[in-house]
């Protein structure tokens, strides 16, 4: 579904991504792990066209590197950024409506589905986005991207700063998304959820991929963990 080859990105003159490659197949949950500042978010932004990439990004057999973000989004790529980016002056409902690419768009997920799944959001349709809790914001931002009917979605650090109960809900939603046929690239720092729900994992260090493999391979290879992830 998504194939990234030799992806490079620069901020000013500093070389942030140095030849990243990764692959996500249909219906898969793939995790991208790594410490703060190794370039995970930049990878997402480069795929999304928000930082100008050099290299190849093929999505559903077509090259998308170099396109504008909105064009990439219209091809079916969704992105949930780390900072959630809820529009604070718009209501919950308006936030969701902006997720639709066209007015009245109907896809795998509709706004009604979202409200059914998360009654909490349904109760607060007319509350301004700036006045809902962090957990609700996380749900809202994921749902906002979902109603735009992407075939592939990148989720950047969805559990950051959430209470354990919310974390549980988020990971359930991610699995739900994958079941509906949407591929997921999950960017995480913590291992707990990533290990539990993803099919394959990539580990990033300093602008390149330093490990790729299945869950079992990852569990077996403790040296990667030690060098690039934890403690």
């Amino acid at each position: 579904m998504l194939e990234v080859r030799d992806l490079n990105a620069y901020y000013g003159r500093s070389h942030i991504l140095q030849g990243v490659h990764l692959r996500v197949d249909r219906g898969e949950i793939v995790s991208l792990l790594g410490r703060n500042g190794v370039g995970r978010s930049t990878t997402c932004k480069a795929i999304m066209g928000m930082v100008s990439p050099r290299g190849s990004v093929r999505f559903q057999e077509k090259e998308i590197a170099g396109l504008k973000p909105h064009a990439i989004a219209r091809r079916g790529v969704g992105y949930v950024p780390e900072d959630r980016a809820i529009f604070p002056r718009l209501t919950v409902l308006q936030n969701l409506e902006l997720g639709l690419k066209k007015k009245g768009q109907k896809g795998r997920w509709t706004i009604e589905d979202v409200f059914q799944l998360f009654p909490r959001l349904g109760e607060r349709t007319h509350v301004l986005g700036g006045f809902i809790s962090g957990g609700e914001q996380q749900m809202l931002t994921m749902c906002r991207t979902l109603v735009g009917d992407p075939d592939f979605i990148m989720i950047d650090e969805p559990t950051e700063g959430l209470a354990p109960k919310m974390v549980e809900q988020v990971s359930m939603l991610i699995q739900e998304i994958a079941r509906s046929g949407i591929s997921v690239l999950l960017v995480e720092q913590k291992l707990t959820i990533a290990l539990r729900i993803s099919h394959r994992l990539y580990v990033m260090g300093r602008g390149e991929i330093v490990f790729e493999g299945t869950r079992d391979e990852f569990e077996a290879d403790t040296s990667v963990r030690r060098e690039w992830l934890e403690v």
Partner: protein, 250 residues
């Protein structure tokens, strides 16, 4: 009884509706290496931004060497002997590496806003700039524009700017972010070396670095410090394990 150099009393900080720091009390002792750890979003960087004066505190009192610094502007706090680094690289990108360091030395060496001295003519200033460059291992790149350095080198320069002035208390915000194990080791040694005899407060994710460097550790969770203790005691602390490291603590 060790002497307290930095003391925070009942610090609160809210941005609009959301309260990020919800009552922090902390005493940092002179000469210790103090690490602040905690999950993402716990407010560690915010705490640094409060202490260094970038944000005004909503409530509470901060003292540096016994003087109230609660309402002081960043440059005033800096002049009292507190220097900090940033999590995201924050240097002077268009100026040369040497110039970056030299600028950081101007105020501590008493040049102030003077426009009657020529920087080139001040031997002590230039000697010390070169010394700091040697320390951070960048003497060979002194004339390169700082923006053209590699990411890791920019991180070193960032720390270089922070320690150059010889501040008594140094705050480092995730100095090893984005580095490999190898570079991290180099950085830890370097930090240990340059903060010898000074007070260090460090925010860090990497537990290896924390347990390696710190004399004492504070754990910040949801805007509150739930424990401050020696590394060994923190490792054993049940509350910390539960709140932060999780059940699968490695």
């Amino acid at each position: 009884m060790p002497e307290t150099i930095l003391s925070l009393k009942g610090i609160h900080k809210n941005f609009g509706e959301s309260e990020i720091i919800t009552g922090v009390d902390l005493d940092v002792f002179r000469g210790e290496r103090h690490a602040i750890i905690g999950p993402n979003g716990a407010g560690k960087s915010t705490l640094f931004n409060l202490v260094s004066g970038l944000y005004p505190v909503s409530e509470g009192r901060m003292e540096l060497k016994g003087h109230d610094i609660t309402k002081l502007a960043p440059h005033r706090i800096n002049r009292r002997g507190l220097s900090r680094s940033f999590q995201t690289t924050n240097i002077f990108p268009k100026m040369s590496v040497f110039e970056n360091i030299r600028c950081a030395l101007l105020w501590p060496m008493g040049f102030g806003h003077s426009f009657w001295h020529l920087c080139e003519r001040k031997k002590a200033l230039n000697d010390r700039s070169r010394m700091v460059l040697e320390q951070i291992g960048m003497a060979d790149r002194a004339l390169m524009p700082a923006g053209a350095l590699s990411y890791a080198d920019q991180r070193f320069l960032e720390i270089g700017i922070t320690i150059a002035g010889g501040a008594e208390i140094i705050l480092l915000d995730e100095p090893t972010a984005g580095m490999s194990r190898h570079e991290i080791e180099r950085t830890v040694n370097f930090i240990r070396e340059v903060t010898e005899g000074k007070t260090l407060v460090i925010v860090e994710h990497d537990m290896g670095v924390v347990f390696d460097l710190a004399d004492r550790i504070s754990v910040l969770v949801y805007g509150q410090i739930i424990a401050t203790d020696s590394p060994e005691a923190i490792k054993k602390n049940e509350k910390v394990r539960e709140a932060y490291l999780g059940k699968e603590a490695v």
